[in-house]
Symmetry: C2
Subunit: 184 residues, 2 copies
């Protein structure tokens, strides 16, 4: 078991729950964007869904340990409106993680001297900053009734860093090499 | 908004959270089974992960409505042991849904006269019965150090019904046609 402290473990489970729900709603909203005639925004949703999968997997593995059940309390966003409205839900969720949830979880992991949890929260926090910005760009387009302009989306499989049109030589968050990025 | 009652809405959000976390842990445990040398058990995990995605999507769409945030309390299972142990976590989670969670949620949706929620809970309940059985078969194999015997797994995209080796002419749970099943 990689985590020694019950409070940090609780935050990892909560973050896992939040990321799992975010992954799922981006798959759903991506399908809805595709049907609304925004294939590029749909692609962005699918790529960021994968980034949230990376975050969830990191938290789950840092928790480690043997089989156990828990009731998990986590933040979710709901709604099946038009794409511009769903993107507002996505922006709200990302900003909550960037401004409130991950800074507090990261601070707690530091306070409890849990380096692996700290790393996992840090990766997510930095990636969510990019997600908030990308969803804002998508919403600006959708509000004008047009699709986003992008060729491809690249996601780092280690930390979830998300970037349009081309991967950097090294991931700016975790240092992973360009070749590791997954293309959408 | 398809749901009129706050209690049924709460159960739909909780079930969405539980299904989203189940989807995610089956993806993770599937990757681990692959690495442990059980590609067929890995395939089963990936197929059932998709079935849980179907359930989560159904609950989310029945909730419908405009963008809103909620704190969601939902059951999760954790642990990164060997595959035989992870499968015990999977069995525990499925049996909880079959014996406790979905019967109670279904009963509440019936009591509150919410036909769409009832349908969504019914689909999940019936599919989880099959999942519990399939994971038990997988665990019997893994405990003997061998992989499962299966050619392919088929999942109904409407209700999550999961079946080995060939789809039925009509889904026994929701009536969807054979051609709609997704093959893994
Ligand atoms: Fe995330
Ligand atoms: Fe994000
Ligand atoms: Fe990275
Ligand atoms: Fe399910
Ligand atoms: Fe299931
Ligand atoms: Fe079905």
């Amino acid at each position: 078991m990689a985590v020694q402290n019950a409070m940090t473990a609780d935050y990892l489970r909560s973050a896992y729950g939040g990321e799992s729900m975010a992954h799922m709603r981006y798959l759903i909203w991506g399908d809805m964007a595709e049907k609304e005639g925004f294939p590029k925004i749909a692609k962005l949703f699918m790529a960021i869904a994968y980034a949230e999968r990376v975050h969830a997997g990191n938290h789950f593995k840092v928790l480690g340990g043997s089989t156990s059940d828990s009731t998990v309390a986590a933040g979710g966003v709901f709604g099946t409106g038009r794409t511009a409205e769903n993107l507002q839900g996505a922006i709200n969720g990302e900003l909550h993680e960037v401004e409130q949830m991950y800074p507090v979880y990261l601070n707690a992991a530091e306070f409890q001297n849990e380096p692996e949890a700290k790393r996992s929260f840090h990766f997510a926090l930095e990636a969510e900053k990019v997600h908030a910005k990308l969803f804002q760009d998508a919403q600006n387009a959708a509000k004008e009734g047009r699709d986003m302009e992008l060729k491809a989306v690249y996601v780092c499989p280690v930390c979830g860093h998300t970037v349009l049109d081309g991967a950097p030589d090294r991931c700016p968050i975790c240092g992973a090499k360009k070749e590791m990025y997954r293309q959408f």
